[in-house]
């Protein structure tokens, strides 16, 4: 084996988790692409299915962003599924029953989410009640509150403007429409930005003598990511354009990735989760940070609640049941540690996509919900065992 190859092997070994999940996602997509083509005669990566994939899973990704922070801080939030239901019901009452305009409903719902997050975070942060207990209580309370608010009925349909939160598409500013040039331009631009940022980080590492990843790995990873992005973008553009949800998702992901990696407050959350006592003795206000992560989770759960309601075009007492488990699973599949202090935003997003792709692929193949649950459970277990095994090595 040549020196260079050995370097690549060693590097991949050292960064198995980071690149591993991305490779797993690609592998799963390819797997379904073949299986679905062979057995069902359908194109898994058709424009319509890609659009569906995002629409169906947007809420998991959005909440995974907040859940990652909660879990990195060393806590857990079990209430998000119920909060999704409750905020959806609240939105339905405001829009359908009280005829509030959308521009008033959205901030009202986000505000409600903030309040819920603050109410739970208060007990966790300042009274040191275990977050598992507080949010388990929240899960029951807000599920009950959802049923009470809806009086056991479905409320709907929503006006078009509200529905567009989830089902709307970005119009083509260039007026070409098919393929949607705006979509293509945006996607190409983001691919370029990702490559440029990666290159800059690489240069900086070299400057400080930090051992960079082997050039081949860098090129390969960027090629795969850019190609995937442009491919998805092209497919979406040739269908109905960029869904609003995808834009929200992308913007939020970038924001949160920036927050966790570049902002002092984000850094402090990692220190808090890694060693709370040391963080405290370094002058970090650990209580307030915990409180804020829960507030943030509440807001994101509220956003997800509105998107779910808009997609279903009605609010039901059952909306959001079990979502918390999907979200938490996504974060752990993405490499976060149960004990806190470890985890990345992009990992959580990839984790959510893995869950989403599996849901979608298995549904197309007509696999029953019973098998789906079992398979998803085993995937979660396998991902975490993989982590533990790597650590103990």
């Amino acid at each position: 084996m040549s020196e260079q190859n050995k370097g690549i092997g060693a590097h991949l070994g050292g960064h198995l988790r980071e690149n591993g999940m991305l490779m797993a996602l690609v592998a799963i997509v390819v797997f379904f692409l073949i299986i679905v083509r062979v057995f069902e005669g359908v194109d898994f990566l058709s424009a319509q299915n890609i659009t569906n994939l995002f629409l169906q899973n947007s809420y998991v990704i959005i909440m995974a962003l907040g859940m990652l922070l909660v879990i990195v801080a060393g806590h857990i939030d079990l209430s998000v599924g119920s909060v999704v239901g409750f905020v959806g019901a609240f939105a339905a009452v405001l829009t359908v029953n009280l005829h509030w305009p959308v521009w008033a409903v959205v901030p009202a719902c986000l505000g409600l989410g903030l309040l819920i997050g603050a109410a739970q975070g208060y007990w966790v942060a300042y009274w040191r009640v275990p977050s598992f207990i507080v949010t388990l209580a929240g899960m029951l309370v807000f599920r009950g509150a959802t049923m009470w608010l809806l009086a056991g009925q479905n409320i709907g349909p929503f006006p078009k403007t509200f529905q567009s939160l989830s089902t709307g598409f970005i119009p083509d500013v260039f007026g070409v429409d098919k393929p949607n040039m705006t979509a293509l331009a945006l996607v190409t631009l983001s691919a370029l930005v990702i490559v440029a940022m990666g290159w800059r980080a690489r240069m900086r590492d070299a400057e400080f003598g930090i051992e960079p990843e082997p050039g081949a790995v860098f090129v390969a990873r960027n090629l795969i990511v850019s190609a995937a992005l442009i491919f998805v973008g092209y497919k979406l553009a040739s269908f109905r354009g960029l869904p609003n949800v995808v834009v929200i998702l992308t913007v939020l992901t970038v924001l949160y990735a920036f927050f966790t990696e570049k902002v002092t407050t984000g850094r402090r959350i990692y220190a808090l989760g890694g060693n709370e006592k040391a963080a405290k003795l370094s002058g970090i206000k650990t209580e307030r940070l915990v409180f804020l992560t829960f507030c943030n989770m509440g807001v994101l759960a509220a956003l997800a609640g509105m998107i779910v309601a808009a997609r279903l075009n009605s609010s039901t007492p059952k909306a959001g049941v079990g979502f918390e488990l999907d979200v938490i699973a996504a974060v752990f599949i993405g490499g976060a540690s149960m004990s806190g202090g470890v985890g990345k935003i992009l990992g959580a997003v990839v984790g959510a996509l893995i869950m989403g792709v599996m849901n979608n692929g298995m549904s197309i193949m007509g696999i029953g919900i019973d098998y789906q649950q079992m398979i998803k459970g085993l995937v979660l277990l396998a991902a975490v065992i993989f982590d533990v095994y790597n650590k103990s090595k």
Partner: protein, 509 residues
């Protein structure tokens, strides 16, 4: 008369440290044998060898117990032979009852079914033996520390103890509880239980011990009979050692008073009527290294942590003046702003985020110094870390290395870097060289001298007296939460520090 226990030529080596070097110990049946020595002299290590915490084969030398060689693989083996150790930190389960604790792991049971009637009966008998008037179903958490200590002894008696080892049994006890415990020891002796007591409270040793073995630097210095026991003799044996050239040279330039603490009082965070720091007052000057000496439990760490953003204790009162102005040190952030830094005793639990890289640990206490409008500059961060890596000689392949992979000395340098990056006026270093090999110790001393030379004030808390004598311009002596004396460099000696501690013993109240 043949000895009950004979440990011959015991040596135990940890990576980089020779903790025990050819130690011998003979314990006669029916005696109370005291082991004394400074913190870190190797007393506890010796007892861990005896009780099987360090299994047979991990040390050199031989142990003859009751006429046969003893080769314990674990604590269970030594307990089966009737050797029971009661550690300084009590090993009781607070939420279980007295009876449940007494027979934990040793239940009065047949085929796994517990016979509670018999267990309670035996509990009653055991409690009587140790002179405790409590109901067997009382939860252990309801008892005070003194009574819990007695429960530990009862637990040992429940296992048919033949050789009872007590590691600093009175360290956490009040005066009258201590007396009760010592009485009980004498009574057990009368019943034929051989005992080893580890203690540095010389008055207690004088009261109960038949013979004393003094250990210093991991080696036996002397074994004294009752007739030979005197405080002077013990102190001389405990501390007498050569100190030449273990500390880097330095010529101090001492300036004005930098920090002054007055009337500092702190209460225990849980036990409301226990005062941990009593009316403490001290000061540090520019360019000065000030030591705080004292035995374990004297309140040194509590003093430091309560000063640093009220990180310990309740009901804190007193004033801190920095550079002539009253400083607000009520939260850690404010204390840092006031120019204070505290390097903790336990760097792994309190000082470092072990799973994060060196660079992130160094900048943690001063993220504002590497960010603009809340956005971190990784370029600046890495520069800072590199500067400290060079200045402190942190040995690592790179600053992205996780600190968990560093040696103790290098970890300590990372912690020091973190605090230096906050540019403090006064650094409080709590046991800065604990668990660090000799070479790294010398480097840390050098860094401390450098800090003083920069005009900062350094407060050094240490249990190793030679280190304090070698490094400090002035030494405060603490005991039982009070500052009981102050010695200049010229006045200070191990004998005088010990004497100040012993003279203040029990006078507090």
């Amino acid at each position: 008369m043949t000895a009950l226990l004979e440990m011959r030529g015991i040596s135990k080596v940890f990576p980089g440290v020779r903790a025990l070097d050819n130690v011998s110990l003979t314990v006669e049946p029916g005696e109370i044998h005291a082991i004394c020595g400074e913190n870190g002299a190797g007393k506890s290590t010796l007892m861990k060898v005896l009780s099987g915490v360090y299994p047979h084969g991990s040390y050199e030398g031989e142990i003859i117990y009751d006429g046969q060689p003893l080769a314990c693989r674990n604590i269970r083996d030594s307990e089966d032979r009737g050797i029971i150790i009661i550690h300084q930190e009590l090993a009781l389960v607070p939420l279980l009852s007295i009876a449940e604790n007494l027979f934990l792991g040793n239940e009065v049971a047949k085929r796994g079914i517990i016979n509670w009637a018999e267990a309670f009966q035996r509990t009653g008998a055991l409690l009587k033996k140790v002179g405790l008037d409590e109901v067997p179903t009382t939860k252990v958490e309801k008892l005070g520390v003194g009574k819990q200590q007695l429960i530990e002894i009862a637990k040992a008696l429940a296992k048919d103890v033949r050789l009872l080892i007590l590691d600093e049994p009175t360290a956490a006890l009040q005066e009258n509880d201590s007396q009760k415990l010592l009485d009980l020891m004498l009574e057990l002796k009368a019943q034929g239980v051989t005992q080893i007591i580890i203690s540095h409270k010389l008055n207690e040793i004088g009261r109960v011990a038949d013979r004393i073995t003094v250990i210093r630097d991991g080696a036996t210095v002397s074994t004294l009979d009752k007739a030979e026991i005197s405080e002077d003799r013990i102190i001389r044996d405990m501390v007498g050692r050569d100190m030449a050239h273990r500390y880097p040279d330095r010529s101090p330039h001492i300036g004005d008073v930098l920090m002054e603490v007055q009337g500092w009082n702190v209460w225990h965070p849980d036990q409301k009527d226990r005062q941990m720091i009593k009316d403490a007052a001290f000061h540090v000057k520019k360019g000065e290294i000030v030591g705080i000496a004292g035995l374990m439990g004297a309140g040194r760490t509590e003093l430091a942590m309560s000063l640093f953003g009220k990180s310990y204790g309740r009901g804190i009162s007193g004033t801190v003046t920095m550079g002539g102005k009253v400083a607000d040190t009520s939260t850690v952030a404010k204390a840092i702003d006031a120019g204070l830094a505290y390097v903790t005793e336990d760097r792994k639990v309190l000082g470092l985020v072990l799973d994060e890289p060196i660079v992130r640990n160094i900048t943690l206490a001063n993220l504002l110094g590497v960010s603009k409008n809340g956005v971190l500059s990784q370029r600046r961060e890495t520069q800072v870390a590199e500067e400290y890596r060079k200045a402190m000689n942190i040995r690592t392949p790179g600053v992205m290395q996780k600190v968990v992979n560093l040696s103790g000395g290098n970890q300590q340098k990372v912690v020091l870097s973190k605090w230096l990056f906050t540019d403090p006026q006064v650094l409080i270093l709590d046991e800065p060289t604990r668990g660090i090999d000799v070479g790294a110790k010398f480097e840390i001393y050098g860094i401390m001298n450098e800090l003083a030379a920069q005009g900062r004030g350094v407060v050094m808390i240490s249990s190793e007296m030679p280190e304090l004598l070698g490094m400090c311009d002035r030494i405060y002596v603490m005991n039982e939460g009070r500052i009981v004396g102050e010695l200049s460099r010229a006045e200070a000696s191990q004998e005088r520090i010990m004497a100040l501690i012993l003279q203040s013993e029990g006078k507090a109240a």
